[in-house]
């Protein structure tokens, strides 16, 4: 197997829904510890692209490689265990569970702790290490004051932060963030940028960020891909791409 400098390589992904081509020959790379953005108008296929990387949708053509290995055929949860964490545009929280339980269940899915028989003996009480990991992560995304709230009572913005925290609990190498700032106010989305910086600095986690908030894109990414109507329009350093007239036209609808 040839070695690759990339953490994630999506090669020539094509996805079709019936007769509609949702993704057409989309290739994208993320390096280890790199911060990459992905923008495009609604319906450009960004979420579909995420879904085909995480395995929710099987691409018609194309391969997905992660850390050099071909993961195109793997199950969603196997990919997650390899180190691909993600958040969702439409939140996928576990309703009825508290913030603490969310983080704990993600942590245990990662560490493999907890079986039916050990439940009978210990009652599934979290150990001190687990407890402190959960509380630290909650503090990182500023949810420590809501840690025992049931998620159904959280606001949209807090829900997004919780999704991020839940993904972080599995200690991913790559985070796929699907519009994490929608529903956050200005202060919260600046905090989000700080969290992302911190995660990258401390754990050298790479992330791929789908976002409409160009301010956040500027703050939090180094490289940027632009999609339009299912194909890749542009890629390159964030500032350069954002200032390109064709990108401005596609993304903002303004003919520059």
């Amino acid at each position: 197997m040839e070695t690759t400098p990339w953490l994630l390589e999506a090669q020539h992904i094509q996805v079709q829904f019936g007769g509609i081509i949702a993704l057409q020959d989309v290739s994208l790379e993320v390096g280890p510890g790199e911060a990459v953005g992905l923008i495009g108008p609604n319906g450009a296929g960004k979420t579909t692209f995420f879904n085909s990387i995480t395995g929710i949708i099987a691409p018609l053509r194309g391969r997905v490689r992660f850390m050099g290995a071909d993961i195109t055929e793997l199950d969603v949860h196997t990919r997650a265990r390899l180190g691909i964490g993600r958040t969702f545009q439409r939140m996928e929280l576990f309703s009825g569970m508290t913030v603490r339980e969310h983080l704990l269940v993600a942590l245990r899915a990662h560490t493999g702790v907890g079986s039916m028989w050990s439940d009978l003996l210990t009652g599934g009480r979290p150990s001190d290490v687990e407890r402190s990991l959960v509380e630290d992560t909650a503090k990182l995304v500023a949810l420590d004051d809501r840690i025992d709230s049931v998620v159904d009572t959280l606001s949209l913005g807090h829900g997004r932060l919780l999704e991020l925290a839940r993904a972080l609990m599995t200690n991913p190498r790559l985070l796929l963030l699907d519009e994490p700032s929608s529903g956050l106010d200005h202060v919260e989305s600046s905090e989000l940028a700080e969290v992302l910086h911190a995660v990258r600095r401390v754990r050298s986690t790479a992330y791929l960020l789908v976002e409409h908030d160009l301010r956040l894109i500027r703050e939090a990414t180094e490289r940027l891909y632009v999609m339009e109507q299912g194909y890749l329009l542009a890629k390159g350093p964030t500032e350069a791409v954002l200032s390109h007239p064709r990108v401005r036209e596609a993304y903002t609808g303004v003919t520059a």
Binding site: H77, E92, V105, S118, M169
Partner: protein, 797 residues
């Protein structure tokens, strides 16, 4: 020649299936309810028709008009306005439980009120003169077959045409996508849904009346089978295509009739395969056609603006991990109760009490599968039966001690559960439930009647556990204590699991399979685990039950129990262990109570009472028992400490509002309906997202600083608008004068302002179903920011 006649008979049967199936598709398409109650509606029509013709001697045509054309649509309408209107936007579970309630209540009510449970044989054919036999080129064809085929084809084709070619059909399809969006587009969603429920009621009634003579009797269980056949046909049409549904129904009917003729009549295969073909088809389709594995439920595009759906339960108390003394307390209380009951009760009541305890064990199997893992199984009696018959057969043929037989029964039931769950693990929600229903019917019809499984209809004898002279449970009191012990341990196990790591993983699956997979939990494996544990518990319960009664009969574990049990436990509280115990008590003791009160038809009334509970479930989804416990605790004033539930934030007087609203004379009137402050140019705001302006939005500085697109303004006092008929047909008109004036008025105030894209305001394709008014026509703002969503998209286009 004979084959052609056979074919005609098969087509007739298939047509009835297709009719019923189109009713299923109709309600699923237009109100996203998978209406299991259609079986009951068909039965109701058949019962009314029978009563009118046979008992009251009405002419057949009059009876037909009354039962099918009048009462059936009315029943459909009543079901919508009485029940299913309130389930809009509710989780699939709720809709399913409610429709299951209809399936149980309606026939039971009819039987209890006038029809009785006796079999009513030889129902009349619905068309006068249809008992004539026609001869065409030497083939003898029954007139009833021909009329059935004719009626079914006419109805299905008419429905398909309605969906495809009419405005009403277009709107019906739109209502599914999002009732709220359609309402925003100015269409009366309730009206559309009413029409479709009436239609589906009519179709079900027609199928019911036409089917009765084919079965030779008016019998509830036949209508459950009809329902499953119809579901299979509807699944062939992917729950949306009426032509394919017709094809599915026909194929099913023909195959069934042809198989009946050509398979040797005395083989087990013929006996079992023919009636159960629909379940096998349904199961096979769900399991082997990959499309169905990924279908989610119908989702509302507007649900993005909703808060997340309510959980199926009250929040878990946050200190679950600190309850250390509960085990000791529970043990003490249980011992006390057991001692009291075993000493105080008379023999008869002791037996009833034991039955209640055993049923509680079976109900705990739902706690694991439905309450914690969120999967609704309609085949649970099959697991209980597996445990029971394993113990019975081992005891009868191998002289196996019943004590070990029960454990073997649990193991076998668990294995059956795993075998079922393995192919089903990719299915979600309603599809998984349907597959368990097909499985339950299959086991009920094919497996349990086998001599090697269920023995004869009279049943197998099962002794009480007796081992080594020490463990002697043949005495009723001793057996009662044994059952209580089993219940205690199972409850303890379920409780530990629910609050432990496994329970959290199962909870996560219930909350969101996609989310769970994204953190590395394998949803399939987890579901298999839940099925295994649940089936094992049901198996122990089943084995205890037959050992209690001394006899194991297949009728004890029929599909009827599989349908009744989940309704009862879900209504009482699927997650709650006390609820399982209550459910056992209700199920056993309520019929006795009614019998003591001399109520006629007590069993039917019990079903009615339990089924009615399903309707309470619409409003109260945490389960009655949990709700009662919470309310009692709240009135005792002990939960006030929890700020999340009690809203315990101390009230502080808010500072006065900084009111910078311009004076009235500076306002610009737009169409005399909405007033906007002049400081902000009126950005065409998005019609759906009218959040009330926040405090910061209200301040003038903010308004001045922000570009128009980001300020979303609430439409004040905006009358509900329904489009006049001419808007629906006439081509676009030029800007209405009053709008033109307001544009000019705006320009006078701010010369630089102009509508974002004037041509998009009045695009002919755009104005079909929405007011020609800037605040709902979401043509973008000048910079086309991401908020630039168009208005109601789900309207017909």
């Amino acid at each position: 020649m004979e084959f052609v006649a056979l074919l005609v008979a098969g087509v007739a049967l298939g047509c009835v299936y297709a009719l019923m199936a189109s009713g299923v598709v109709l309600t699923y398409k237009t109100s996203a309810v998978f209406n299991l109650g259609l079986g009951a509606q068909a039965y109701a029509a058949a019962a009314i028709f029978y009563t009118l013709t046979v008992d009251m001697h009405f002419p057949i045509l009059v009876a037909l008009v009354i039962s099918v054309f009048l009462l059936s649509p009315l029943l459909g309408l009543a079901l919508y306005w009485g029940l299913f209107r309130y389930t809009q936007g509710a989780p699939e579970t709720v809709k399913l439980v409610v429709s299951l309630g209809v399936l149980l209540v309606l026939p039971a009510l009819i039987q209890a009120v006038w029809f009785g449970t006796n079999l009513k044989g030889n129902p009349p054919v619905a068309v006068p003169g249809a008992d004539r036999v026609f001869e065409l080129a030497g083939i003898r064809i029954g007139g009833d077959s021909l009329t059935t085929i004719f009626a079914a084809v006419v109805v299905v084709v008419a429905l398909a045409g309605l969906f495809k070619f009419t405005v009403l059909g277009l709107r019906m399809r739109a209502v599914v996508e999002s009732p709220r969006m359609v309402q925003l587009a100015g269409i009366n969603a309730d009206g559309i849904a009413s029409v479709s429920w009436m239609l589906s009621g009519f179709v079900a009634g027609l199928a019911g009346v036409m089917l009765a003579p084919l079965f030779g009797s008016v019998d509830v269980s036949k209508y459950t089978l009809l329902l499953v056949a119809a579901i299979a046909a509807a699944v062939v049409g992917r729950l949306s295509s009426l032509p394919w549904t017709l094809v599915g129904g026909l194929a099913l009917g023909v195959t069934q009739v042809v198989l009946a003729r050509y398979l040797p009549a005395d083989s087990v295969l013929a006996e079992g395969l023919r009636p159960s073909l629909p379940f096998i088809l349904l199961f096979g389709l769900l399991v082997f056609v990959p499309k169905y594995r990924t279908i989610g439920g119908v989702t509302d595009p507007l649900s993005g603006v909703d808060p997340p759906p309510k959980a199926l339960r009250s929040p878990v108390s946050t200190d679950t991990h600190s309850k250390r003394n509960t085990f000791g307390q529970a043990l003490l209380i249980t011992c006390g109760l057991v001692a009291f009951f075993s000493l105080a009760l008379s023999d008869v009541w002791l037996l009833r009490m034991t039955t209640a305890v055993v049923m509680a064990v079976i109900f705990l199997s739902y706690t694991v599968l439905t309450g914690i893992a969120g999967q609704i199984s309609l085949g649970q009696a099959a697991f209980a039966g597996a445990g029971a018959f394993t113990a019975a057969q081992l005891a009868n043929h191998f002289d196996f001690p019943v004590f070990w037989g029960m454990l073997a029964g649990a193991a076998v039931a668990s294995a059956v559960g795993i075998l079922l769950a393995l192919p089903l693990r990719q299915l979600r929600g309603i599809y998984l439930t349907l597959a368990t229903l097909a499985f339950g019917l299959m086991v009920d019809q094919i497996i349990f009647p086998l001599e090697n499984v269920g023995g004869s209809p009279a049943g197998l004898e099962v002794p009480r556990p007796y081992q080594y002279n020490i463990f002697d449970f043949s005495d009723d009191r001793a057996f009662f204590i044994l059952c209580c012990g089993v219940l205690f341990w199972v409850a303890w196990y379920v409780w530990r699991m629910r609050d432990g790591a496994t329970g959290q993983v199962l909870d996560a699956i219930r909350g969101s399979e996609t989310g769970a997979a994204s953190v590395g939990i394998d949803p399939g494996r987890t579901k298999v685990k839940a099925f295994a544990v649940s089936a094992a518990i049901a198996g122990i319960g089943g084995a205890l039950l037959v050992s209690l009664q001394g006899r194991a009969t297949p009728a004890e574990f029929s599909i009827a129990e599989s349908l009744l049990w989940p309704v009862l436990i879900i209504v009482l509280g699927a997650r709650s262990i006390p609820a399982a115990i209550f459910a056992g008590a209700f199920l056993t003791l309520l019929p006795e109570l009614l019998r003591m009160l001399d109520v006629p038809q007590p069993l039917a009334w019990v079903t009615v009472i339990f089924g009615l509970g399903a309707f309470i479930f619409i409003k109260n989804q945490e389960g009655l028992v949990d709700w009662l416990l919470r309310v009692t605790r709240q009135t005792a004033g002990r939960t006030a400490r929890d700020p999340a539930t009690a809203g315990g934030v101390p009230a502080v007087a808010p500072p006065p509002v900084i009111d910078l609203t311009p004076q009235p004379d500076t306002n610009v009137q737009i169409g005399a309906q909405a007033a906007f402050p002049t400081a902000s140019p009126v950005g065409p705001s998005v019609g759906v997202a009218h959040a009330p302006p926040t405090a910061s939005e209200r301040t003038a500085s903010h308004v001045a600083a922000e570009p128009a697109a980001t300020v979303r303004r609430r439409r004040t006092r905006y009358r509900p608008w329904s489009p006049p008929r001419r808007y629906l047909q006439a081509p676009a008109k030029p800007t209405p004068p009053q709008l033109q004036t307001s544009i000019e008025a705006l320009r006078r105030r701010d010369p630089t302002w102009q509508p974002a894209n004037p041509s998009s305001w009045m695009r002919p394709s755009d104005d079909m179903n929405r007011p020609q008014h800037p605040s709902t026509n979401g043509g973008g703002s000048s910079d086309g920011a991401p908020g630039n969503r168009r208005g109601p998209e789900a309207g017909p286009n």
